[in-house]
């Protein structure tokens, strides 16, 4: 954990320096008190100090951080990327089809192999959500080219 803390700490330090420098260009304080730059600068400074503390913090390792075995790492990355693709795809081809695809893919990744379950659950999920939200609750859902 100590190594992870150092990397995160350095990352956060760089982030806070960036925020501070960007905020430095904002309109500064005037006669009636602090300006737009005040709050970002103060918080970035505190974050910077805390991240330095994190860099120097020693923390005992409480077991492995990532529990995945080598063989299933591609599966996990696949799930991760499919989630991102899903979010990008929804406004393009619409919620309905993309939802069927992503839920089918996720269940497949997580070891469900029975096609009846895969197809019926993913279609049912999409249908139920669309009907429940759009027609029963009047909550809009994102649509695209393919509904």
């Amino acid at each position: 954990m100590t190594l992870a803390n150092r990397i995160i700490g350095i990352g956060l330090l760089l982030f806070s320096i960036y925020v501070w420098l960007t905020a430095n260009a904002f309109p500064p304080s005037n006669s009636i008190g602090p300006g737009a730059d005040f709050f970002p600068k103060v918080t970035a400074t505190i974050l910077g100090i805390l991240s330095v503390l994190l860099v120097f913090k020693k923390e005992e390792n409480a077991g492995d951080i990532f529990t995945l075995q080598r063989g299933s790492i591609p599966h996990f990355i696949g799930g991760f990327i499919s989630l991102i693709i899903y979010v990008i795809l929804v406004p393009i081809i619409g919620f309905f089809i993309s939802t069927v695809l992503v839920s089918l893919f996720w269940m497949l990744l997580m070891g469900i192999r029975r096609w009846v379950v895969l197809v019926s659950v993913s279609i049912l999920l999409s249908v139920v959500v669309v009907i429940l939200f759009e027609y029963v609750m009047n909550v809009p859902i994102p649509h695209g080219v393919l509904y």
Binding site: M1, L12, G33, F39, T43, L47, V102, M107
Partner: protein, 501 residues
């Protein structure tokens, strides 16, 4: 009193009553599933309520919240895998009961303690909040700034294992909340010419991402590492007898008081309430009884359950009277109120007293319903634990996308949610608590605008915060709550070192 009776009349209107029932059941189910918390349940249910009228929508969420907090104890008791962080304390004495074949007794004690705690805290809420609102009416900018700072300091210092990581989460949230127009001059900050960023990051998508998407990713990881299958649940459904319960009332009432108090303090969550009450129950126990804690002492179930559920009513006190959420769930409730066009705060008791008292009556009813379902449905709720998690994960993802989009029909929010979800997953992995970020997103803008408003009042002099007694008190409390955990941490590690040597 009239207002409360009128509230009951509204609550028992079939359309609202059914929603409370649905909320409580859904809450228990969500809470019972290991990993899914009350916070996440409320976040996922939030978008459904947008199309409802305010009272109905809020009471549905209240049902999910109350049910979810109790539901966590089911998995704790039966499987020793706490459904929510708060119910980890319940597992200590609840699981030994299951091992002895007395699961029904443990579940019975849990639901009775939980609903008693819940009812107690709602009565306290009804009693305290109008008075507090009266006082808060006189608060102006410096006091509100002090309050926001106090809330922020507590959130960061007591949320989770590492004080430093809690603080980093909180301050990171404060930096993030400066995105958007400056509250005083409308100068665009960190918007990168993106119109969607002008009003800042919407905290509800951030919250859905941090609590729901991150959990879906964790579930996937668990499933890929061989998915923990649940063993056969040996359950007997015999309920506790009256004689067994009689010995618990003292513990239940004390824990309810502790839970309510911790709930009122902005920032502290159910997990803290549960563990404090557990330790107090142990401290109050007779010497020979102390030995039995952790081996199946009924008080060890009653205390955390009563406190965890008493927190719910307490957490509504600062939300309704001051507009400051008491914990992560009430932070979502704040979002629900604002979406419905209701601004919580001291004026709420004057402008929408009818709504407030209907909410109160609904909370009382929700607690009673929880007791009924908890006792009748034990058999049913134990079957929930058999729902395969590899089906739950995609459901969470899909509901998160719909939820994030529904808030303002802006797809940008969905990307915000995704980003927050990915960050949230890594935060979980590296031990950073998520709730400080969310509460910082709410309290940060408040702290900034109130501070600058106060400085306009004082023509730029910072002395205004020291000259006003209430503001000064809050600021001192904030400093104390930041410094004390750090010192305690130092003492603890020194002690640990001394023991090791």
């Amino acid at each position: 009193m009239d207002l409360l009776l009128n509230g009951f009349a509204q609550v028992f209107h079939p359309s609202i009553f059914i929603l409370i029932i649905a909320g409580v059941i859904a809450g228990i189910v969500i809470g019972a599933l290991p990993g899914l918390t009350a916070t996440m349940g409320v976040a996922l249910f939030l978008p459904i309520t947008f199309g409802m009228d305010p009272v109905a929508g809020l009471l549905l969420l209240v049902g999910v919240y109350f049910g979810g907090v109790y539901g966590g104890s089911i998995a704790s008791i039966l499987l020793n895998t706490p459904g929510t962080p708060a119910s980890a304390a319940t597992a200590l004495d609840g699981y030994p009961f299951t091992k002895q074949g007395k699961a029904g007794k443990a579940l019975g004690i849990a639901v009775i303690a939980a609903s008693t705690g819940g009812l107690f805290s709602v009565f306290m809420l009804i009693f305290i909040s109008p008075q507090l609102a009266q006082i808060a009416l006189d608060f102006s900018a410096p006091e509100m700034f002090g309050l926001a700072i106090f809330g922020l300091s507590i959130i960061s210092s007591i949320s989770g294992g590492s004080v430093l990581k809690g603080l980093i989460s909180g301050v990171f949230g404060l930096v993030i909340c400066t995105v958007g127009m400056d509250p005083m001059t409308s100068y665009p900050r960190f918007t990168y010419d993106n119109i969607s960023l002008l009003n800042g990051l919407n905290f509800i998508p951030v919250m859905i991402g941090l609590f729901a998407i991150s959990e879906a990713l964790v579930i996937m990881e668990e499933q890929l590492t061989g998915g923990k299958g649940f063993g056969k649940i040996i359950a007997s459904y015999a309920l506790p007898t009256w004689n067994e319960l009689k010995k618990l009332w003292g513990t239940i009432l004390r824990s309810s008081g502790i839970g309510t108090f911790i709930g009122i303090v902005p920032g502290a969550g159910a997990d803290i309430a549960a563990f404090v009450a557990y330790n107090e129950a142990k401290r109050f126990a007779k010497k020979e009884e102390k030995e039995t804690f952790g081996k199946g002492n009924p008080k060890g179930i009653a205390a955390p359950e009563a406190a965890g559920n008493a927190l719910t009513g307490g957490a509504f006190v600062p939300l309704l009277t001051l507009g400051i959420p008491g914990d992560a769930v009430t932070a979502i409730m704040l979002g629900a109120l604002v979406v419905q066009g209701i601004q919580p705060g001291p004026q709420l008791f004057e402008t929408s007293s009818e709504l407030v008292y209907t909410l109160f009556s609904g909370m009382l009813v929700a607690n009673v319903l929880m007791l009924i379902f908890g006792l009748v449905g034990i058999r049913l709720f134990t079957t929930i634990l058999k729902v395969p998690k590899n089906i739950i994960a995609p459901v969470i993802i899909v509901l998160s996308v719909v939820g994030a989009f529904a808030i303002s029909n802006n797809y940008f929010d969905v990307f915000t949610m995704l980003g927050a979800g990915i960050i949230g997953y890594f935060m979980k992995k590296f031990g950073f608590p998520a709730s400080p970020i969310v509460l910082a997103l709410i309290l940060g803008p408040m702290a900034e605008s109130e501070m600058r408003r106060a400085l306009v009042m004082s023509e730029g002099s910072f002395m205004i915060f020291l000259e006003r007694p209430i503001a000064l008190t809050f600021i001192i409390l904030a400093i104390v709550s930041l410094v004390v955990p750090l010192i305690m941490g130092q003492i603890k590690s020194k002690k640990a070192k001394a023991i090791n040597e």
